[in-house]
Symmetry: C2
Amino acid sequence: MTDQLDIGSLLFIAYRAMGDRVFAAITEAGYDDVTMAQFKLLQRINADGTRLSELAEATQVTKQTAGYLVDQLEAGGYVERGPDPTDARARLIRQTGKAQAIHPIAVAAIAEIEAEWTAHLGKRRMDQLRDGLARLREITDPYLGR
Amino acid sequence: MTDQLDIGSLLFIAYRAMGDRVFAAITEAGYDDVTMAQFKLLQRINADGTRLSELAEATQVTKQTAGYLVDQLEAGGYVERGPDPTDARARLIRQTGKAQAIHPIAVAAIAEIEAEWTAHLGKRRMDQLRDGLARLREITDPYLGR
DNA sequence: CTAAAATAGTCAGTCTCTCTGACTCTTAGA
DNA sequence: TCTAAGAGTCAGAGAGACTGACTATTTTAG
Protein backbone atom coordinates (compact mmCIF):
# COMPACT_ATOMS: atom_id res chain seq x y z
CA MET A 1 0.00 0.00 0.00
CA THR A 2 2.93 2.27 0.67
CA ASP A 3 4.76 1.62 -2.55
CA GLN A 4 1.86 1.76 -4.96
CA LEU A 5 0.13 4.98 -4.15
CA ASP A 6 -2.97 6.12 -5.97
CA ILE A 7 -2.89 9.17 -8.19
CA GLY A 8 -4.59 11.26 -5.50
CA SER A 9 -1.77 10.67 -3.05
CA LEU A 10 0.78 11.33 -5.77
CA LEU A 11 -0.87 14.67 -6.50
CA PHE A 12 -0.80 15.52 -2.83
CA ILE A 13 2.86 14.65 -2.34
CA ALA A 14 3.92 16.89 -5.23
CA TYR A 15 1.57 19.67 -4.12
CA ARG A 16 2.86 19.55 -0.60
CA ALA A 17 6.48 19.60 -1.69
CA MET A 18 5.94 22.72 -3.77
CA GLY A 19 3.61 24.45 -1.33
CA ASP A 20 5.97 24.05 1.59
CA ARG A 21 8.89 25.51 -0.31
CA VAL A 22 7.01 28.46 -1.78
CA PHE A 23 5.63 29.21 1.64
CA ALA A 24 9.11 28.96 3.19
CA ALA A 25 10.46 31.40 0.59
CA ILE A 26 7.76 33.94 1.47
CA THR A 27 8.39 33.53 5.18
CA GLU A 28 12.14 33.92 4.73
CA ALA A 29 11.59 37.08 2.70
CA GLY A 30 10.13 38.63 5.84
CA TYR A 31 6.43 38.02 5.29
CA ASP A 32 6.30 35.81 8.34
CA ASP A 33 2.82 36.83 9.44
CA VAL A 34 1.08 35.28 6.43
CA THR A 35 -0.11 31.72 6.89
CA MET A 36 -0.56 29.08 4.21
CA ALA A 37 -4.34 29.36 4.35
CA GLN A 38 -4.15 33.14 3.95
CA PHE A 39 -1.74 32.82 1.03
CA LYS A 40 -4.04 30.43 -0.80
CA LEU A 41 -6.82 32.96 -0.51
CA LEU A 42 -4.53 35.77 -1.61
CA GLN A 43 -3.69 33.89 -4.79
CA ARG A 44 -7.31 33.89 -5.84
CA ILE A 45 -7.89 37.63 -5.54
CA ASN A 46 -7.79 39.23 -8.97
CA ALA A 47 -6.81 42.76 -9.97
CA ASP A 48 -10.38 44.10 -10.11
CA GLY A 49 -11.13 42.91 -6.61
CA THR A 50 -12.95 39.74 -5.68
CA ARG A 51 -15.98 39.09 -3.54
CA LEU A 52 -15.78 37.05 -0.37
CA SER A 53 -18.22 34.49 -1.75
CA GLU A 54 -16.10 34.04 -4.83
CA LEU A 55 -12.99 33.51 -2.73
CA ALA A 56 -14.85 31.03 -0.60
CA GLU A 57 -16.00 29.12 -3.66
CA ALA A 58 -12.60 29.23 -5.35
CA THR A 59 -10.76 27.93 -2.30
CA GLN A 60 -13.54 25.56 -1.30
CA VAL A 61 -14.16 26.85 2.16
CA THR A 62 -17.27 28.37 3.74
CA LYS A 63 -17.90 32.10 3.61
CA GLN A 64 -17.26 32.21 7.34
CA THR A 65 -13.83 30.69 6.96
CA ALA A 66 -12.97 33.02 4.08
CA GLY A 67 -14.16 35.96 6.18
CA TYR A 68 -11.96 34.88 9.06
CA LEU A 69 -8.91 34.72 6.79
CA VAL A 70 -9.70 38.04 5.11
CA ASP A 71 -9.97 39.64 8.56
CA GLN A 72 -6.44 38.53 9.29
CA LEU A 73 -5.10 39.59 5.91
CA GLU A 74 -6.74 42.98 6.38
CA ALA A 75 -5.23 43.35 9.85
CA GLY A 76 -1.83 42.55 8.37
CA GLY A 77 -2.27 45.17 5.66
CA TYR A 78 -2.38 42.69 2.79
CA VAL A 79 -5.92 43.35 1.58
CA GLU A 80 -8.58 46.03 1.77
CA ARG A 81 -12.34 45.70 1.76
CA GLY A 82 -14.23 48.21 -0.36
CA PRO A 83 -17.80 48.56 -1.55
CA ASP A 84 -19.00 46.81 -4.67
CA PRO A 85 -20.58 49.53 -6.85
CA THR A 86 -22.86 47.01 -8.52
CA ASP A 87 -24.31 45.47 -5.35
CA ALA A 88 -24.62 47.09 -1.94
CA ARG A 89 -24.77 43.73 -0.19
CA ALA A 90 -21.33 42.77 -1.46
CA ARG A 91 -17.85 44.11 -0.81
CA LEU A 92 -14.80 43.83 -3.04
CA ILE A 93 -11.58 42.53 -1.55
CA ARG A 94 -8.45 43.98 -3.12
CA GLN A 95 -4.76 43.28 -2.66
CA THR A 96 -2.63 46.10 -1.32
CA GLY A 97 0.86 46.89 -2.58
CA LYS A 98 2.23 44.82 0.28
CA ALA A 99 0.43 41.75 -1.03
CA GLN A 100 1.54 42.42 -4.59
CA ALA A 101 5.15 42.55 -3.40
CA ILE A 102 4.85 38.90 -2.40
CA HIS A 103 4.04 37.88 -5.94
CA PRO A 104 7.56 38.05 -7.46
CA ILE A 105 8.93 36.11 -4.48
CA ALA A 106 6.42 33.34 -5.02
CA VAL A 107 7.06 33.36 -8.76
CA ALA A 108 10.82 33.05 -8.23
CA ALA A 109 10.40 30.18 -5.78
CA ILE A 110 8.05 28.38 -8.14
CA ALA A 111 10.46 28.87 -11.03
CA GLU A 112 13.29 27.38 -8.99
CA ILE A 113 11.28 24.32 -8.02
CA GLU A 114 9.97 23.84 -11.53
CA ALA A 115 13.55 23.95 -12.79
CA GLU A 116 14.44 21.15 -10.39
CA TRP A 117 11.45 19.14 -11.46
CA THR A 118 12.28 19.70 -15.12
CA ALA A 119 15.84 18.57 -14.47
CA HIS A 120 14.51 15.37 -12.94
CA LEU A 121 11.74 14.58 -15.42
CA GLY A 122 13.13 16.09 -18.59
CA LYS A 123 11.48 18.99 -20.38
CA ARG A 124 9.07 16.87 -22.41
CA ARG A 125 7.58 15.05 -19.41
CA MET A 126 7.39 18.26 -17.41
CA ASP A 127 5.45 19.96 -20.19
CA GLN A 128 3.13 16.99 -20.41
CA LEU A 129 2.56 17.09 -16.68
CA ARG A 130 1.69 20.78 -16.70
CA ASP A 131 -0.54 20.34 -19.74
CA GLY A 132 -2.36 17.39 -18.21
CA LEU A 133 -3.01 19.23 -14.97
CA ALA A 134 -4.25 22.34 -16.76
CA ARG A 135 -6.68 20.28 -18.83
CA LEU A 136 -7.80 18.39 -15.78
CA ARG A 137 -8.68 21.66 -14.12
CA GLU A 138 -11.50 22.05 -16.62
CA ILE A 139 -13.39 19.27 -14.86
CA THR A 140 -11.98 19.48 -11.33
CA ASP A 141 -12.03 23.20 -10.46
CA PRO A 142 -15.51 23.98 -9.16
CA TYR A 143 -14.78 27.69 -9.43
CA LEU A 144 -14.27 27.48 -13.19
CA GLY A 145 -18.02 27.17 -13.52
CA ARG A 146 -18.25 30.82 -12.47
CA MET B 1 -3.81 35.56 -11.32
CA THR B 2 -6.98 33.53 -11.25
CA ASP B 3 -6.76 32.27 -14.80
CA GLN B 4 -3.07 31.41 -14.93
CA LEU B 5 -2.51 29.28 -11.89
CA ASP B 6 0.87 27.87 -11.02
CA ILE B 7 1.53 24.16 -11.12
CA GLY B 8 1.22 23.92 -7.34
CA SER B 9 -2.33 25.19 -7.37
CA LEU B 10 -3.15 22.92 -10.29
CA LEU B 11 -1.88 19.95 -8.32
CA PHE B 12 -3.98 20.98 -5.36
CA ILE B 13 -7.17 21.41 -7.36
CA ALA B 14 -6.88 17.93 -8.84
CA TYR B 15 -5.91 16.41 -5.49
CA ARG B 16 -8.79 18.06 -3.75
CA ALA B 17 -11.29 16.94 -6.38
CA MET B 18 -10.22 13.33 -6.04
CA GLY B 19 -9.79 13.38 -2.27
CA ASP B 20 -13.24 14.80 -1.66
CA ARG B 21 -14.92 12.19 -3.78
CA VAL B 22 -13.04 9.22 -2.39
CA PHE B 23 -13.76 10.44 1.09
CA ALA B 24 -17.44 10.92 0.24
CA ALA B 25 -17.62 7.36 -1.10
CA ILE B 26 -16.21 6.00 2.15
CA THR B 27 -18.59 8.07 4.22
CA GLU B 28 -21.57 7.00 2.15
CA ALA B 29 -20.55 3.38 2.55
CA GLY B 30 -21.18 3.80 6.25
CA TYR B 31 -17.70 4.56 7.51
CA ASP B 32 -18.80 7.98 8.65
CA ASP B 33 -16.59 8.15 11.71
CA VAL B 34 -13.34 8.23 9.73
CA THR B 35 -12.01 11.69 8.97
CA MET B 36 -9.84 12.72 6.05
CA ALA B 37 -6.76 13.07 8.26
CA GLN B 38 -7.31 9.60 9.71
CA PHE B 39 -7.80 8.11 6.24
CA LYS B 40 -4.54 9.60 4.98
CA LEU B 41 -2.74 7.93 7.85
CA LEU B 42 -4.55 4.65 7.26
CA GLN B 43 -3.32 4.62 3.67
CA ARG B 44 0.27 4.61 4.82
CA ILE B 45 0.01 1.59 7.12
CA ASN B 46 1.44 -1.46 5.43
CA ALA B 47 0.57 -5.13 5.89
CA ASP B 48 3.43 -5.85 8.28
CA GLY B 49 2.46 -3.04 10.58
CA THR B 50 4.02 0.41 10.65
CA ARG B 51 5.61 2.41 13.43
CA LEU B 52 4.12 5.67 14.58
CA SER B 53 7.29 7.56 13.65
CA GLU B 54 7.15 6.17 10.15
CA LEU B 55 3.53 7.22 9.76
CA ALA B 56 4.39 10.66 11.04
CA GLU B 57 7.24 10.97 8.57
CA ALA B 58 5.23 9.60 5.65
CA THR B 59 2.31 11.95 6.22
CA GLN B 60 4.52 14.87 7.23
CA VAL B 61 3.07 15.50 10.64
CA THR B 62 4.62 15.37 14.09
CA LYS B 63 4.63 12.17 16.12
CA GLN B 64 2.13 13.81 18.47
CA THR B 65 -0.32 14.44 15.64
CA ALA B 66 0.10 10.93 14.31
CA GLY B 67 -0.46 9.60 17.82
CA TYR B 68 -3.63 11.62 18.19
CA LEU B 69 -5.01 10.24 14.92
CA VAL B 70 -4.00 6.66 15.75
CA ASP B 71 -5.80 7.02 19.11
CA GLN B 72 -8.99 7.85 17.25
CA LEU B 73 -8.54 5.10 14.68
CA GLU B 74 -7.92 2.66 17.51
CA ALA B 75 -11.04 3.82 19.35
CA GLY B 76 -13.02 3.34 16.14
CA GLY B 77 -11.67 -0.19 15.73
CA TYR B 78 -9.71 0.55 12.57
CA VAL B 79 -6.22 -0.12 13.87
CA GLU B 80 -4.50 -1.98 16.68
CA ARG B 81 -1.25 -1.20 18.46
CA GLY B 82 1.02 -4.13 19.15
CA PRO B 83 4.59 -4.57 20.32
CA ASP B 84 7.48 -4.40 17.89
CA PRO B 85 9.47 -7.63 18.50
CA THR B 86 12.67 -5.98 17.31
CA ASP B 87 12.51 -2.91 19.55
CA ALA B 88 10.75 -2.58 22.88
CA ARG B 89 10.52 1.21 22.55
CA ALA B 90 8.44 0.97 19.42
CA ARG B 91 4.97 -0.34 18.73
CA LEU B 92 3.59 -1.59 15.45
CA ILE B 93 0.31 -0.20 14.20
CA ARG B 94 -1.75 -2.63 12.17
CA GLN B 95 -5.00 -2.28 10.24
CA THR B 96 -7.93 -4.37 11.45
CA GLY B 97 -10.37 -6.14 9.14
CA LYS B 98 -12.65 -3.15 9.45
CA ALA B 99 -9.98 -0.89 7.96
CA GLN B 100 -9.17 -3.38 5.24
CA ALA B 101 -12.84 -3.40 4.25
CA ILE B 102 -12.53 0.27 3.35
CA HIS B 103 -9.86 -0.48 0.81
CA PRO B 104 -12.04 -1.87 -2.02
CA ILE B 105 -14.44 1.06 -1.59
CA ALA B 106 -11.61 3.53 -2.00
CA VAL B 107 -10.22 1.60 -4.95
CA ALA B 108 -13.61 1.59 -6.69
CA ALA B 109 -14.07 5.32 -6.15
CA ILE B 110 -10.58 6.05 -7.45
CA ALA B 111 -11.19 3.85 -10.50
CA GLU B 112 -14.40 5.73 -11.26
CA ILE B 113 -12.74 9.12 -11.02
CA GLU B 114 -9.73 7.99 -13.04
CA ALA B 115 -12.11 6.77 -15.73
CA GLU B 116 -13.68 10.23 -15.88
CA TRP B 117 -10.29 11.86 -16.04
CA THR B 118 -9.17 9.46 -18.77
CA ALA B 119 -12.33 10.22 -20.73
CA HIS B 120 -11.53 13.92 -20.51
CA LEU B 121 -7.79 13.78 -21.20
CA GLY B 122 -7.53 10.73 -23.39
CA LYS B 123 -5.65 7.62 -22.39
CA ARG B 124 -2.26 8.82 -23.59
CA ARG B 125 -2.30 12.06 -21.60
CA MET B 126 -3.66 10.29 -18.53
CA ASP B 127 -0.83 7.77 -18.62
CA GLN B 128 1.68 10.57 -19.02
CA LEU B 129 0.18 12.37 -16.05
CA ARG B 130 0.39 9.33 -13.81
CA ASP B 131 3.91 8.56 -15.00
CA GLY B 132 5.08 12.12 -14.43
CA LEU B 133 3.68 12.20 -10.91
CA ALA B 134 5.17 8.84 -10.00
CA ARG B 135 8.60 9.97 -11.19
CA LEU B 136 8.24 13.26 -9.39
CA ARG B 137 7.62 11.37 -6.18
CA GLU B 138 11.25 10.26 -6.27
CA ILE B 139 12.31 13.79 -5.41
CA THR B 140 9.24 15.11 -3.56
CA ASP B 141 8.31 12.34 -1.12
CA PRO B 142 10.46 12.79 1.97
CA TYR B 143 9.43 9.35 3.18
CA LEU B 144 10.98 7.64 0.17
CA GLY B 145 14.34 8.29 1.77
CA ARG B 146 13.41 5.73 4.43
C1' DC C 1 -45.87 47.00 -6.97
C1' DT C 2 -45.31 44.33 -3.26
C1' DA C 3 -44.28 40.12 -0.79
C1' DA C 4 -41.44 36.15 -0.75
C1' DA C 5 -37.19 33.98 -1.83
C1' DA C 6 -32.44 34.20 -2.71
C1' DT C 7 -27.84 36.21 -2.01
C1' DA C 8 -23.74 38.68 0.51
C1' DG C 9 -21.78 38.89 4.49
C1' DT C 10 -21.21 38.75 9.81
C1' DC C 11 -21.48 36.96 14.66
C1' DA C 12 -21.16 33.18 17.93
C1' DG C 13 -19.86 28.71 19.24
C1' DT C 14 -17.61 24.33 18.50
C1' DC C 15 -14.52 20.74 16.85
C1' DT C 16 -10.52 18.78 14.52
C1' DC C 17 -6.00 18.93 13.48
C1' DT C 18 -1.69 20.61 14.17
C1' DC C 19 2.05 22.41 16.71
C1' DT C 20 5.71 23.10 20.76
C1' DG C 21 7.58 21.66 25.04
C1' DA C 22 8.45 18.45 28.59
C1' DC C 23 8.59 13.87 29.96
C1' DT C 24 9.51 8.35 30.28
C1' DC C 25 11.40 4.29 28.64
C1' DT C 26 14.58 1.71 25.70
C1' DT C 27 18.48 1.09 22.73
C1' DA C 28 23.04 1.96 20.89
C1' DG C 29 27.64 3.74 21.13
C1' DA C 30 32.12 5.48 23.26
C1' DT D 1 28.74 1.67 32.00
C1' DC D 2 26.77 5.82 31.27
C1' DT D 3 25.57 9.06 27.99
C1' DA D 4 23.29 10.29 23.81
C1' DA D 5 19.78 9.28 20.57
C1' DG D 6 15.31 7.42 19.34
C1' DA D 7 10.17 5.88 20.14
C1' DG D 8 6.34 7.25 22.04
C1' DT D 9 3.05 9.86 25.40
C1' DC D 10 1.03 13.79 28.12
C1' DA D 11 -0.37 18.59 28.40
C1' DG D 12 -1.47 22.92 26.58
C1' DA D 13 -2.32 26.18 22.92
C1' DG D 14 -3.54 28.08 18.39
C1' DA D 15 -5.18 27.99 13.56
C1' DG D 16 -8.56 26.88 10.52
C1' DA D 17 -12.64 24.78 9.42
C1' DC D 18 -17.46 23.83 10.29
C1' DT D 19 -22.84 24.65 11.52
C1' DG D 20 -26.46 27.65 12.82
C1' DA D 21 -28.58 31.99 13.32
C1' DC D 22 -28.83 36.62 12.01
C1' DT D 23 -29.01 41.42 9.16
C1' DA D 24 -29.17 43.84 4.97
C1' DT D 25 -29.86 43.99 0.12
C1' DT D 26 -31.37 42.29 -4.34
C1' DT D 27 -34.09 39.48 -7.32
C1' DT D 28 -38.14 37.07 -8.58
C1' DA D 29 -43.02 35.85 -8.64
C1' DG D 30 -47.70 36.86 -8.19
